[in-house]
């Protein structure tokens, strides 16, 4: 890893550059919940842990509130999250917009056009407009660093939280970044101000007007703001754009004039009118929703946007060449090849639990995490996935709709991190409202899908300190649930017994299946599984659970890749002919 000294120029992920910019801006408190594509922001901020406090909060609402508290106390603070996390955090966001800030307050919202690792592709700019919060959008790693610094300054100048919006492509692209020194403004004094900081009706109704005025003023100032830039070249084509699409515009239309917006909410009306008047044909290029376009058109300005550009997925230079210039890029026809969807890893404990659910033909209300992949063939166990924590409440709703017997062949499946995120509330609801369903907590001791972040039940903080470890068993017990079990995720017999018993029980029960994620650094494989081709009857039972380390050879016998195998033994236990054995590590 390159040394990060001010004055040097290094390659950085967009997310690392956001962390760097926040550090340089003097941020003192950061809170987040992991979520692709935002996770690396916090992971990079802890590089500066001597000067910045950074934490994983249990969910985005808590993270936002932690950042708000820090801001009220007078320091620069931030929260970062993926787009759907912004939904979770929207409650405090909408109201802190009314109160405004003391220390600069920035929320980084990471959208995922193209849905690389999400459940939808919503546009955070819409949330920002509804919450009346300004939005700043960088176009590359260097701008990420610079713009987030400006975001802290503007937050204090206009007394407002600010959203820095990025997309997956910016978050996960590396580019060159110029490093500068950290300049830490003095902490602002805290002054008690009930009219500003206590949002009850009499105060809030006045603050609403303040927010409107603030946005109007900012919209006026935006016409000359350094974050917005009109680049005049040939004026036959003019493009209004922002963020990553700016790069596609520059690539596809190097001669076109461009109005590059760094502040995408509120919009600089005068600047846009002026730009529009100087170009022959005006295009508006923005991924996802026509947020800029609808406003510009509402001012009576002629422009072309979503008539020719999609609202779905990522854009590209070729796409713009095709849509604007009618140019096709010559290339071969893509080969028709089998898809390669993501799958559970070799040695994943979720596979073991799912193999039992599949055997017992039990439906699963699913949740968000690696274990969502249990919906993929050949397992196809997971029936539903909505959002974080929804598995438990969905199961509860089914029972209330259809009765106790209906959920006797259903369970809710939820990971340890997701359970602590919002599953806890849903479980509380089951207890309170006399549900009888069965909840399976797939405890692999980490937040897996996002790349192994700690959480409140792992005993470690984001800063790397040892801490209290919330015990999931006792947490469930404390809610008054009598039937709580901990079981080894690879103990197939016990799992089967418990699942049969608890799904029939007319009381809430929780089965915590425990086994470390096989990708954790602390994971020690028991050995490697090997096949005796003489004994293999080619029945395919072992490959039915979809382990990627296994495949059927041409003659039908099964082979196991020794590099990929983590020695979990699930295949061995499913073989009725004793053809697979575990070669134990010495």
């Amino acid at each position: 890893m390159s040394k990060e000294y001010a004055g040097t120029k290094i390659m950085m992920l967009g997310n690392a550059a956001l962390a760097r910019g926040a550090y340089e801006a003097g941020v003192k408190v950061s809170a987040a919940y992991p979520g692709t594509p935002s996770t690396e922001i916090s992971e990079n901020l802890v590089k500066y842990k001597d000067e910045v406090y950074a934490e994983w909060s249990p969910n985005e609402k808590v993270a936002m509130e932690v950042a708000i508290g820090a801001s009220i106390s007078g320091v620069r603070a931030m929260a970062s999250m993926k787009h759907v996390g912004v939904n979770v955090a929207s409650d405090p966001l909408y109201t802190i917009s009314y109160s405004g800030v003391n220390g600069g307050l920035v929320l980084v919202a990471a959208d995922d056009p193209g849905i690389y690792s999400s459940q939808n592709e919503q546009d955070s700019r819409m949330v920002a407009r509804a919450a009346m919060v300004p939005v700043i959008e960088p176009s590359d790693s260097e701008e990420a660093r610079v713009f987030i610094k400006r975001a802290f300054e503007l937050s204090e100048e206009y007394d407002t939280p600010i959203i820095v919006r990025e997309t997956t492509r910016l978050a996960h692209s590396q580019g060159l970044v110029n490093l500068e020194e950290r300049v830490c403004p003095e902490d602002k004094p805290y002054e008690k101000n009930i009219a500003k900081n206590v949002m009850m009706p009499a105060n809030a109704i006045k603050r609403h007007l303040v927010v409107e005025e603030r946005l109007n003023k900012m919209a006026l100032d935006a016409n000359t703001l350094d974050l917005n830039r009109a680049e005049y070249r040939d004026t036959k084509i003019g493009v209004i754009t922002s963020g990553i699409p700016y790069q596609y515009v520059r690539e596809a239309l190097p001669e076109a004039s461009v109005l590059k917006l760094g502040l995408v909410h509120p919009l600089p009306k005068k600047l846009i009118q002026e730009f529009a008047s100087k170009v022959d044909t005006l295009y508006i290029v923005e991924e996802l929703e026509p947020v800029i376009e609808e406003q510009v058109k509402s001012w009576g300005i002629q422009a072309i946007g979503k008539e020719i550009f999609t609202v779905q997925g990522e854009y590209s230079a070729n796409m713009l060449r095709r849509a604007i210039l009618g140019q096709e890029v010559e290339c071969d026809v893509p080969a028709q090849v089998p898809a390669r969807p993501p799958i559970l890893c070799p040695g994943c404990p979720h596979r073991s639990v799912y193999s039992v659910l599949k055997k017992l033909k039990i439906h699963a209300a699913g949740d968000i995490g690696c274990y969502t992949l249990g919906a993929v063939a050949p397992l196809s166990v997971v029936d539903t996935t909505v959002c974080m924590g929804a598995s438990i409440s969905n199961l509860h709703g089914m029972e209330k709709a259809k009765g106790k017997d209906y959920v006797k062949n259903w369970v809710a499946v939820i990971g340890d991190s997701t359970f602590l995120h919002t599953g806890v509330n849903s479980l509380m609801n089951m207890v309170y409202n006399k549900a009888t369903g069965t909840v399976v907590i797939l405890d692999n001791s980490t937040t897996g899908m996002t790349g192994h972040q700690d959480h409140a039940a792992t005993g470690k903080t984001l800063m790397g300190d040892t801490t209290y470890m919330i015990n999931l068993y006792h947490l469930c017990k404390a809610m008054g649930i009598e039937h709580v079990y901990e079981v080894d995720a690879f103990d197939l017999e016990e799992l089967e017994r418990l699942l049969k018993q608890e799904t029939q029980r007319e009381e809430v029960s929780v089965i915590i299946t425990k086994s470390q994620c096989a990708l954790l650094k602390t994971f020690v494989p028991k050995g490697k599984c090997i096949v005796d081709p003489e004994k293999c009857k080619k029945c395919g039972m072992c490959v039915a659970s979809g382990c990627p380390a296994m495949h059927k050879a041409k003659d039908g016998t099964v082979e196991i890749d020794p590099v990929m195998c983590n020695g979990c033994g699930l295949c061995m236990n499913s073989c009725k002919f004793g053809a697979i054995s575990l070669l134990e590590n010495k």
Binding site: M11, L13, T36, P37, T39, E40, Y116, S117, D140, R169, H172, S173, Q174, G175, L176, I244, Q247, Y248, R250, E251, S316, A317, N318, V329, E330, C331, D332, V333, P334, A335, V337, P338, A339, R340, P341, P342, I343, L344, C345, C370, L373, V376, A377, P378, M449, T450, G451, V543, G546, P548, M550, H551, K552, V563
Partner: protein, 189 residues
């Protein structure tokens, strides 16, 4: 000079990100503007992954598009085929001659195409290598990705010593020696 476009494709978990960091390092060392675009998150769990590396005097777009790649480095045969249409007419494919069945093939819902490398050779300049076998000979099959980098490096415009230096700076300290040997093995092929 015109911007160069390189793609690294493979299966999530194979170590394509390390390869892209090495490429980023070497192009940066030569003084170019560089952009690298990666896939994190869900696809890293065994899905098809692609990394784009673009370098030149000034790089705008961070991705490589269909018909534009100068070099396609594929860690697996099927992935080479999946992305072959990204190549320019005179582009080169470096392919690791390894088969990894995607789940639809493993469960019998699709067939793994036969003769991929032969078919690719009909249209493109293809260099294939059994990187895992070479890496195993060196002593650790896991460094096969560095072997592939070695094969690709031979066909790019940077000095061998510079590659070795960048590898030394990029891989975990304990694995520098074996990675450098893996690189040599690929380079000398």
């Amino acid at each position: 000079m015109e911007t160069k476009n390189i793609m690294i494709v493979g299966v999530g978990g194979q170590g394509t990100l390390l390869a892209s960091r090495i490429l980023g390092g070497i192009t940066r060392q030569a003084g170019f503007d560089v952009k690298i675009s990666e896939v994190h998150g869900m696809a890293q769990r065994g899905g098809s992954v692609v990394t784009y590396v673009r370098y030149g005097e000034h790089v705008s777009e961070p991705i490589v598009e269909e018909g534009c790649a100068d070099v396609l480095i594929a860690f697996e045969r099927l992935e080479a085929l999946r992305y072959a249409h990204f190549l320019k007419k005179d582009g080169v494919i470096i392919v690791n001659d390894q088969r990894m069945d995607p789940m639809p093939v493993a469960v019998g819902m699709a067939e793994y195409p036969e003769n991929i490398i032969e078919d690719l050779k009909e249209k493109h300049h293809v260099v294939s290598v059994d990187a895992k076998a070479l890496a195993s000979q060196i002593g650790n099959p896991r460094v096969f990705n560095t072997v592939i980098i070695g094969v690709a490096a031979k066909r790019m415009d940077f000095a061998k010593e510079d590659w070795i230096k960048v590898i030394g700076e990029t891989v975990p300290p304990k694995t520098v020696e074996i990675n450098q040997r893996a690189f040599e093995a690929g380079y000398e092929l």
